[in-house]
C-alpha cells in the first residue's frame, strides 16, 4: 500500500476514537438463525426415495435469536462467547456465507472475512492462483488481484513457495498466506475469527503490528476471539454472546470479566461436578497466568516457565482443604496433575469464613506449541475419602508459542549429536 494512502487514512476523521457521530459500518437488526438438524440424516437419493412418505424429523437449534447491534466505522469490535454460543454463526452471517432466517444486516463498504483460520483456498491450486482468485472473489479485477500477489507473499514470507500447491503447505504456512491475503484485500470492514495465535513469535508480532496499523487507519474490524487479553488490548467495544443472545455489550474490560465469570459457571456445570454448596462452600474468584514481569498474560513462549495463579474464597469455616490442578492439552489429554494442601493460620488446617487464598504455581515449560487448559478442583480430606468442594473445568486456558512446530505433546530438553565414523563398537 502506498505511503500517502497511509497518511490520508490516518489524517482522516476515522483516526479518532469512534463516537456517536461516526457513521455506521455495520447495522444488524433482529437477526435470527436456526439450524435444522435432522434426527436421522438422509444422505442418499435411495434412502430419500425409500422414506418418501415418512415425515422428516428435525431438531431445531436456535443459533442466533433476535440479535441487534451497531458497529461504527473505524471501530475495533470484539465478539466473545463460549463454543456454541453463536458467535461464529454471527460472523458467517455477516460474511454472507450463511443466509439469515430473519432480520437485516446492513454494511458500508467492502468486506474481507477471515474465518476458521482461512480465507477460502482451493488446496489443489498454487499460492499464486489462490491469491489472484481470492482477489477476484473480493471484487477486484484480475489485473488488480495480480498486483496484490507480491505484497501478500512478502508479508507471508512465502515468496519461494509461490508455485507450490497449497496441499503441500504446512498448516502454519497456510494460515500465514491466508492472513496476508486478508490484510491485502484493502477492505473497509474486516471480519476475523480466532487469529492471533498464528505462526511463530515473529509472525505474531507482525500480525499484532498489522492490527495496530489497521486500527490507526480507521478500518472497521470485527474480531471473534477467546483471548480476553486481545479484547482488552485492541477493542473499543466488545459484545458477549451466550445461547444465541447478546448477554452484554460495552467496555472490553467489563465484557472480559463477564465472559470469565460465565466460563467458570458453565465450565463447572459441564464437567458434571457440581460445586458442593457453592453458597457456603468454596468459590473460585479468579484464575490467571502471569508473565515473567508479573503482568497477566494469555500466552507464553515455549521454554519460559508458566506462572499460574488462582484465588479462592471460603464461604464458611472449613478444614483440611486442598487444591489440585490438571494440565490438559487441546485434545483433552490430562498431561500433568499437581496440587497442594492449604494450611491455615498458626499451623492448623482450618480456614476461617470469608478467608481468601491465592495459590501461586510455577511450572517448567517443555510443552509443545498449542493451547492448554487448567482444570481446577478444591477438595476436603475427610475420614471416608475426599469430598469435592469445587471443580472448574477449563478454569484457565493459555497458549504456548514459538519453538519448532514439533510433533508430540512435549519438547523435552535433550542432547543429540551425530558421530561420524564411530570407532569400532566394543
Amino acid at each position: 500500500m502506498p505511503v500517502d494512502n497511509h497518511i490520508a487514512r490516518s489524517l482522516s476523521q476515522h483516526s479518532r476514537v469512534p463516537d456517536a457521530t461516526t457513521p455506521l459500518a455495520i447495522q444488524v437488526e433482529g437477526l435470527s438463525k436456526a439450524f435444522r438438524i435432522p434426527t436421522h440424516r438422509i444422505d442418499s437419493l435411495k434412502e430419500r426415495t425409500v422414506r418418501m412418505f415418512s415425515g422428516r424429523e428435525y431438531r431445531e437449534l436456535q443459533a442466533l435469536d433476535d440479535i441487534s447491534f451497531e458497529i461504527r466505522q473505524g471501530e475495533f469490535f470484539g465478539i466473545v462467547g463460549r463454543n456454541g454460543s453463536g458467535k461464529s454463526t454471527l460472523l458467517k452471517l455477516l460474511a454472507s456465507i450463511y443466509r439469515a432466517d430473519a432480520g437485516k444486516i446492513r454494511m458500508a463498504g467492502r468486506l474481507a472475512p477471515f474465518i476458521e483460520l482461512g480465507v477460502g483456498f482451493n488446496v489443489e491450486l498454487t499460492a499464486r492462483e489462490n491469491v489472484v482468485l481470492n482477489g477476484v472473489m473480493m471484487g477486484l479485477t484480475p489485473g488488480e488481484a495480480g498486483n496484490r500477489l507480491d505484497p501478500v507473499l512478502e508479508f507471508a514470507e512465502l515468496e519461494e513457495f509461490v508455485d507450490l500447491k497449497l496441499k503441500n503447505y504446512s498448516s502454519g504456512m497456510l494460515v500465514r498466506l491466508a492472513f496476508a491475503t486478508m490484510l491485502q484485500a484493502d477492505a473497509d470492514v474486516l471480519l476475523i475469527d480466532e487469529v492471533l495465535a498464528v505462526g511463530d513469535a515473529s509472525f505474531q508480532q507482525k500480525c499484532a503490528d498489522a492490527f495496530r496499523r489497521m486500527k490507526e487507519e480507521g478500518r472497521t474490524i470485527v474480531l471473534v476471539t477467546h483471548e480476553m487479553a486481545t479484547v482488552e488490548a485492541y477493542c473499543h467495544r466488545a459484545m458477549l454472546i451466550s445461547d444465541g443472545k447478546i448477554q452484554a455489550l460495552g467496555e472490553p474490560e467489563e465484557i472480559a470479566k463477564q465472559y470469565l465469570r460465565l466460563n467458570f459457571e458453565e465450565g463447572a456445570a459441564s464437567a458434571g461436578v457440581t460445586p458442593k454448596s457453592s453458597g457456603d462452600g468454596v468459590r473460585l474468584l479468579d484464575a490467571w497466568m502471569e508473565d515473567g514481569a508479573g503482568a497477566r498474560a494469555t500466552s507464553v513462549e515455549q521454554g519460559t516457565p508458566i506462572n499460574i495463579h488462582v484465588e479462592i474464597e471460603v464461604a464458611r469455616e472449613v478444614s483440611a482443604l486442598g487444591v489440585g490442578f490438571i494440565l490438559a492439552n487441546s485434545e483433552g489429554l490430562g498431561m500433568f496433575q499437581f496440587g497442594t494442601p492449604i494450611e491455615g493460620e498458626d499451623g492448623s488446617d482450618r480456614l476461617r469464613s470469608g478467608q481468601r487464598v491465592r495459590i501461586d504455581t510455577t511450572l517448567e515449560n517443555p510443552l509443545a506449541p498449542g493451547r492448554y487448559f487448567i482444570h481446577c478442583g478444591v477438595q476436603r480430606h475427610q475420614a471416608g475419602g475426599e469430598d469435592v468442594s469445587l471443580y472448574t473445568h477449563n478454569a484457565l486456558d493459555f497458549l504456548v508459542y514459538g519453538g519448532q512446530a514439533a510433533r508430540g505433546v512435549v519438547a523435552l530438553p535433550h542432547q543429540i549429536k551425530a558421530v561420524l565414523d564411530p570407532p569400532e563398537s566394543r
Binding site: 450463511y98 482468485l133 472473489m137
Partner: protein, 283 residues
Amino acid sequence: MSAMPEVNELREVSGPSALGGGRRRFFDLLWLMGVTEFKRTYFGTVLGYLWSLVRPLLLFAVLLFVFTKVVRIGTDTPNYPVLLLLGIVLFSFFQEGTQNSVTSVVAQEGVVRKTQFPRLVIPLATVLTSLFNLLLNLVIVFIFILAWGVDPTWTWLLFPFALGLIAILTAATSMMLSVLFVRFRDVAIIWAVLAQVLFYMTPILYPLTILHNQTLERLMLINPLAPIINEIQRWVINPDQASAASIAGGAVYLLPAAALFVAVCAFGAWIFNRDAPRIAEEL
C-alpha cells in the same frame, strides 16, 4: 485504491446466492476459475494435454475396431470413422463436464465455507474447463475430417449453434447434479450409470435409421442429445443423412426432446437457485 477515504453508505447484505454480486465479478471469476482449472488439469502433468486426448482416441480406436471388424454396423455407414470420432468427442464433453461438476461444489468446500461469491460459478467453471478441452479436441477432429476427404459446406456454420445447445444442456445438468450431490452422495454413482446409458441412446455408434422401427426411433429421439448429434452429423459430415425430423416422421415428434431440454434447463436453474444460499450449511 483511492487516496481519499471514501464515505461508505450502508447497504443491505443479502446473503449467499447463486448469482448476485455484480456481472463483471461473475464473469471474471468464471473465466479465471475455468482457465486455472484447465491449466491445472492439462498442463500440470508431464504428458499434459496429450493425456486428455488419449482417452477419447483410445475409445475411438476400440469402437472403430469393434464396429467395423466385429459387428459390421460401421461398414454400411458412409464416413463411419469420422462420424464416430466426432460423436465421441462431443459426447465426451457432455459426460466429462457433468461428471466433474457433480463433485465440484463439494470439492470446493474450503472456498464455499469461507468466502462470499456467486455459487453458480463453481459448476459453470467446471463446464467451461471441459469446453476448452472440447475446443482443442475439435481442432484435431476437424483435421481428421478434412483429411478423410469430407468437403466443407456452408452447413458447417450451423455447427457452433448445435454446439451451443450441447453446452447449455451440459451446464444445466451440471447445475442440477452439483447441488443435489451436496445432499445426496449417491448422485455421483447414479449419474455415472445414467451417462453410460445415455451414450448408447445417442446415435454415436450407429445411425438412428438402423432401428427400422419408427416407434423406437421416436423414443430414442426423446433424448435431447439425439436430434442435436444427428443434425451435427448431417451438417458437418454426411449431408445425405436423414434429418431427425424426417426419421421421426415430422418435426412435431421432436417436441418431446425440445420440452425435455427446456425442462432440464429450467429445473437445473430452479434447484440451484433454491439451494445455493444454504450450500455452506449443508457441507
